[in-house]
Amino acid sequence: MFHLDNLTFSLLVYGGSMLAGLLGSLTGLGGGVVVVPMLTILFGVDIRFAAGASLISVIATSSGAASAYVKEGYSNIRIGMFLEIATTIGAIIGASLAGIIPANVIFIIFGFVLLYSASSAFLSKKDDFSDVNEDKHAKLFKLNGSYPAAQGKKEYSVQKVPFGFGVCSFAGIISGLLGVGGGAIKVIAMDRVMKIPFKVSATTSNFMIGVTAAASAGIYFKNGFINPSLVMPVMLGVLTGAFVGAKVLKQTSSKFLKILFSIIIIVMAFEMFRNGLK
């Protein structure tokens, strides 16, 4: 591995993280998922330091974007808070496992999560409200709500609450284990399982990501995963990219970018497998 001084290293990592944050926000896939492979594959950073830096940047982008999402009126604080019980407990389990599981196993799990993220970009974003019934848990926990649509307020009723809660704890484990936001899995839980409208699940999940990642952060600190001088360019870079992305986003997300980003993610997935099998 070539050896860089702090200035060059920080600038390169800053640039790479900015690109990750930009592509992540433009495609809606989140930048966190490519930050870890970028740091480990391109810069030879230990995967534990990489996960620590990525986790912190995930908190930054999720919290920074929240106010913009909130104003659109889609997010549902009750669904978010209810599911955060599952994601935060999962995150503690995942972060604790990250301190025990050998690095090469983490590489392989990461590879699978990357492949999954790439495929999730092409899943249909159409809401499917067939066979929607009144769900007793959704009613009990006051999860049903409405969101602004072209024809006025649109109501939705949440389905299969216990199953969705379970998938969210799994999302929390993955987030804590790999230092990623786990947004793609959270959206699946909410969108596919619980039949929450796509816009509502996407914005609510963004709210949840910061809290979920914060639950892992305490354990990452204790295990020494958070290296301040490495976190610095990653966090600032991803934030810059996400900020620029949010400004550009207003003009529809492009299909070309999605395909490009997915190809990058798939290549990274195979690199992660290769690292894990070394």
């Binding site: 702090n6 019980i85 503690i92 600190f221 301040p228 360019p233």
Partner: protein, 128 residues
Amino acid sequence: MKNNAVVNEKLDFKIEIILGNLLRIGVITAAVIVLFGAVMFIIRHGVEYPDYHLFISEPFHLNDFSKLFSGLAAFKSIAFIELGIFALVATPVLRVMFSVFAFLYEKDYMYVLFTAIVLAVLIFSFFF
């Protein structure tokens, strides 16, 4: 008599706006502190060579803030970056704390409980 089972969506929306702004202020504050530390770090250590390839665990315990404070007093760049990282991690925790009071204000005691559970999990993760 107000029916507690009915969700007041207007009030919810207002609370979410406040929460969203709270998060944004937290992130901006954190980023500014980290940036300050970053500039100092690059000026002082720019030509040194880092080694992130080797994992050397330097555990940081949250009950050991004295080291951070002495670092800040000595104007160490790393201490400022650390402070910014703490400010950032504290931001979502503050949001959850604020939500406890927001649900209390709405008299939604079920969600006061749920939010308190999330807060307890977060506090547990930092101090256990």
